[in-house]
């Protein structure tokens, strides 16, 4: 088995988890009060995955994620101010307010693509890994997607190509058991997504994506493999989304017991308690950490609202490398 993780790693993971959760809470709050107007796909309940992955990544490693991907980007290091300014549609946002929550991009922290088209990020991630192969830059590309995405053609083509070309990329499927309102079994013919890796002759592993240690171990192995020229890995991380597909979804299609059990097993308080039990941190220390995060989010939010909207000349910019007339 992998050797036990250090206290620092545990606290780093928890820090990211708390950041993701608080950030999500605040986004939802701002949406309820009408201050943010946007489509939003909460990842509440899925905090562990990107937290455990990201502590294994270098700042310049590449991330390709999806509409439900703000947690991935935040875990990767995306600055909160830039994020919030983008959510608020301001010209200081990561994408000058032109992309929005579904298209967060921030190359400085390796957040290269956020796509709203299910599955499409998989070939793109493969291409980023290909660029690393040519540039010999030692980067690993990680790409996130959902269980439903494993049924679309781009998944198949991307994994096959990455394997044939043995590229440094890690495919991370967050299996939260639903694709929009469609339960896993209704859309996916096989019992696990991990087993699909066999079709591409790459390692496929299913892991409890809500268990930080287990998730960390699997992610580390895959990232190391990629970095060391061992090619791609498919990880199926089992998890659950607490807030439905998007804001407004009442999760009517999820049996009440399933939802209750998932929330009961919320990885966040569980991990928080475990950290204390292990003696890695006291309640006070964690509370202080959380308060710092809260402050940071508050500052980002205030900053965002203080910024200007982009001017209409932006419609002529970034369509091509030069401005349109």
């Amino acid at each position: 088995m992998a050797k036990a993780l250090s206290k620092e790693t545990h606290l780093a993971m928890y820090q990211k988890m708390s950041l993701i959760k608080q950030n999500d809470d605040q986004i939802q709050f701002e949406m309820k009060t009408g201050k943010l107007m946007m489509p939003y796909y909460s990842a509440r309940g899925q905090e562990v995955i990107p937290s455990a992955v990201s502590v294994n990544l270098n700042p310049d490693d590449y991330l390709v994620t999806i509409y439900r991907g703000i947690h991935d980007s935040v875990a990767k290091g995306l600055p909160l101010k830039d994020l919030w300014a983008e959510l608020a549609g301001r010209d200081t946002g990561t994408c000058k307010g032109k992309g929005g929550p579904m298209h967060i991009t921030h190359p400085e922290t390796g957040v290269m693509v956020t796509t709203g088209i299910v599955g499409s990020g998989i070939p793109i991630a493969t291409g980023l890994a290909l660029s690393s192969f040519y540039k010999k830059d030692g980067k690993v590309t990680v790409t996130n997607f959902g269980d439903g995405a494993s049924n679309i053609g781009a998944f198949h083509e991307g994994l096959n190509l990455a394997s044939v070309w043995k590229l440094p990329v890690v495919f991370i499927c967050a299996n939260n058991r639903y694709a929009e309102h469609t339960a896993y079994e209704m859309g996916t013919a096989c019992d696990t997504i991990a087993e699909r890796a066999a079709s591409y002759n790459m390692p496929g592993v299913r892991v409890d994506g809500n268990d930080p240690e287990a998730m960390h171990a699997v992610a580390k192995e895959a990232i190391d493999r990629a970095r060391n020229g061992g090619g791609p890995t498919l990880i199926e991380a089992m998890t659950f989304r607490f807030c439905g597909h998007n804001i407004g979804d009442d999760s009517h299609y999820i049996p009440a017991e399933e939802m209750a059990a998932a929330k009961e097993a919320d990885p966040l308080p569980r991990y928080r308690q475990w950290l204390q039990n292990q003696g890695f941190a006291t309640d006070e220390e964690l509370t202080a950490m959380e308060a710092n995060i809260a402050e940071e989010i508050k500052a980002a939010k205030e900053y965002a609202y203080s910024c200007d909207f982009p001017g209409v000349e932006e419609l002529k910019r970034d369509v091509y490398a030069y401005d349109l007339a």
Partner: protein, 326 residues
Amino acid sequence: MTAKMTMLEAINLGIKDAMAADESVILFGEDVADEQGGGVVKATAGLSTAFGERVRSTPISEQGFVGAGVGAAIGGMRPVVEVMMANFLAVCMDQIVNHAAKIRFMSGGQTAVPMTIRTMSGAGFQTGGQHTDWTEAWFAHTPGMKVVMPSNPADAYGLIRGCIEDDDPCLFQESMPLYWVPGEAPVQGNVIRLGEANIVKEGTDVTLITYGRGVADSMAVAQKMAADGVNAEVIDLRTISPLDNDTILNSVAKTRRAVVVHEAVRSFGVGAEISSRIHEQLFSDLKAPVQRVASSDCPTPFCKPLEDAFLYSQAEIEHAIKATLD
């Protein structure tokens, strides 16, 4: 006092009546069954309860299930397939343009694909670049396809039924911003034949040619300008391909001025074809060049001020009308 209905309700009723009338009509797409909520905007709510396994929620695999629609249609069914958003048509273009559209011709008329693809789009919800797009020009440039866009609930009912009864593949592109706008309720059983435009307002001074969301905007401008003594005729195309040349040309022959309005981006859009046909046929009758009002030539931006500026405005329609009157 006529009954009111929203476009969503009208589409739902149209499909329901079509399914009741013809056993070969089947429906599938992501989340369309009631267990999954009856569709992402509930356009198909109640249908699986009413028609059982004739309604199916699909895996996320547009190539797979649109292709299955092609096959089922060849096998004698009349599939109504939902592709949730217009942008997602890009993942299944092959099944539409290389197969659905061409199979009748390539088989010498032996097989056909009477399939209806429903999809939706429309700026104004800050859904950004990959969830707001207009694809009517692509499919109108694809012989074998028909392209329909309704502007009001009664038409939506009649046109979805028209598509389902049509023996050729149809793209039925719905305008999100119109979904919840109540309008006159359809007369049940009223099927609108494809290819026939509708003159929604008669006029003498200029012809506004539009479809979908452009109809309400054009009507608003026409009404406003009537106060200034400009009597505009407004044509709701309903069907974009095939175009109703006669209605367009007869109107412009009368008014001698025309403005085309659509939500899609301007360059290489549907407006170009309409403008060209009018100039080709009525060159010496025209008092002014045909004007086009459309969205800016860029992807759909996210933030509200840019999204608003991106989309054409009523002011631009007014401006274009005035340009034809100068």
